[in-house]
């Protein structure tokens, strides 16, 4: 469980610079709905995550990620591989 909360904290830290609305970020926070990110912000954020973890989050996978919890799962899986 610590691994998961560590991952959550790392991703939350990456989200914050893009969190212009000052939304309280939790597992169920959605990128489009709660954070109100447009496609450009999403792209910048994805690039940040990709470069921080040295991974690729394909657009196919991005389409399945709607909230922070799903992102934590996806990045955990990608970094374990």
């Amino acid at each position: 469980m610590t691994d998961r909360s560590e991952m959550f904290d790392r991703l939350k830290a990456l989200i914050e610079p893009f969190n212009k609305k000052g939304v309280e970020v939790g597992e169920t926070t959605t990128f489009a709905g709660d954070l109100e990110w447009d496609s450009l912000t999403v792209m910048d954020f994805v690039a940040e995550v990709e470069d921080s973890f040295d991974i690729i989050i394909s657009m196919n996978l991005q389409a399945e990620i709607e909230n922070v919890g799903q992102l934590v799962d996806a990045v955990t899986k990608l970094t374990a591989a």
Partner: protein, 399 residues
């Protein structure tokens, strides 16, 4: 019953809101008469055309029109068939021969539109387990080609060589990779650093597709596009292009030196499952492509027009999409959609047509007035265009 149209409610509301401010609908304009590549009648008024992509002004070329009329007489109005059944006429072969000669390549495949060329080639060659790596600002036809195929799609920041290289290095070394680039990006009219991008892509073992829709006919020594201009055309595996810009007709194509390329005619669904171009269209296109091979003076004049418009608009105080004129597209950045629509309408009132481009077609949520120049615009017309921009810009309060 759930109304399937409810998903469009936000867009409908936005559109109604815009029209309620009194501006004319920018997306339902009718060209009542077309007098030349640069002049049409709109709302009963003679209007200079500055948003047609008719870069080389071939739409009214005498030889092009004569070729089309002859084909119409000799081969009829349409083919009523697929290229792989009854829809390949002599004219289609001649058109493909003209393309092979124009690009100096071994294979050419003509599609019914440029959209279908991207849709077909990308979705067919990149399959399950392969990767398509594309610029985030790619044209809709490229995205749709990705969506139609089964490959994994990886996007990188616009024209960012380092971002491309990093992503290529993270992909499995033995996976099939297709890097999709454009020579000129049509929204801002900026040119890609193809030389560097192709180098890093080759190093990663990727195949390369370059869409040269907005550069054919006037960029590069022989008008083959940005890859030719930057000396890297030999490293491009597939060039995609269109007839609906410099060629002046409609249709799309892919040219390639890949030894197995001809198999595409059997496996590419947007090629197989649609009717081929009408005889007159392929005849006009072939005549136009052959003329575009020898067009040095027209190219030089188009560049002069583009540079003059860019300089003039900058001097007037407009904000432009590129620091200098990189192509025949000059994008004027508007403060927002409402002001953009007002400016668009004011220009039309002043007898000037440009494209109004808005999100999601535009990058970074921008509203643009996109101007595309023609080799047939006279220097006087360009001066006239600038004075109309000045009048409209002052009336709307943008400058």
């Amino acid at each position: 019953m759930t109304d399937l149209f409810s998903k469009f409610d936000a867009l409908i509301a936005q559109r109604e809101g815009l029209l309620a401010t009194g501006v004319k609908d920018p997306f339902s304009l009718v060209m009542e008469e077309v007098k030349s590549p640069t002049v049409a009648v709109v709302n009963g008024k003679e209007t200079i055309l500055l948003g047609t992509y008719n870069y080389m002004g071939m739409t009214f070329d005498d030889d092009v029109i004569a070729a089309g009329k002859q084909a119409l007489d000799e081969f009829g109005a349409g083919t009523t068939g697929s290229r792989v059944l009854n829809g390949t006429f002599q004219g289609h072969k001649e058109c493909e021969d003209a393309l092979k000669e124009f690009y100096g390549m071994d294979h050419a495949m003509v599609f019914s539109t440029g959209y279908q060329a991207n849709l077909g080639i990308i979705s067919t060659i990149a399959g399950k387990g392969d990767y398509v790596i594309l610029d985030i600002d790619s044209h809709a036809s490229i995205y749709d080609g990705c969506k139609m195929g089964d490959a994994e799609i990886v996007a990188f920041r616009h024209n960012d060589v380092e971002a491309l290289e990093k992503r290529l290095k993270r992909l499995p070394a033995d996976a099939g990779k297709l890097v999709v680039l454009e020579g000129v990006y049509s929204m801002l009219g900026d040119v890609a650093p193809l030389k560097e991008m192709i180098r890093v892509s080759k190093e990663a073992g990727a195949m390369i597709l370059v869409d040269e829709a907005h550069s054919m006919g006037f960029i590069g020594e022989n008008g083959r596009g940005v890859a030719e201009e930057q000396g890297v055309l030999d490293d491009v595996d597939f060039v995609i292009g269109t007839f609906s810009k410099s060629v002046g007709t409609v249709g799309g194509f892919c040219v390639s030196n890949h030894p197995k390329f001809e198999i595409m005619r059997l496996v590419c669904r947007p090629y197989v499952f649609t009717a081929s171009l009408p005889p007159a269209v392929v005849a006009c296109s072939a005549a136009s492509i052959r003329k575009l091979m020898h067009n040095g003076n027209k190219r030089a004049h188009l560049w002069e027009n583009s540079r003059n418009l860019h300089q003039g608009l900058r001097d007037l105080g407009f904000k432009l999409g590129t620091p200098d004129a990189q192509s025949a597209i000059i994008a004027v950045i508007m403060p927002d959609l409402e002001k953009g629509a007002m400016m668009w309408a004011a220009l039309l009132e002043n007898g000037l047509y440009v494209n109004l481009a808005r999100p999601p077609a535009t990058p970074a949520g921008m509203t643009l007035l996109r101007c595309s120049l023609c080799a047939e615009h006279s220097s006087e017309q360009v001066a006239d265009i600038l004075s109309r921009f000045e009048r409209a810009g002052k009336a709307v309060g943008i400058i």
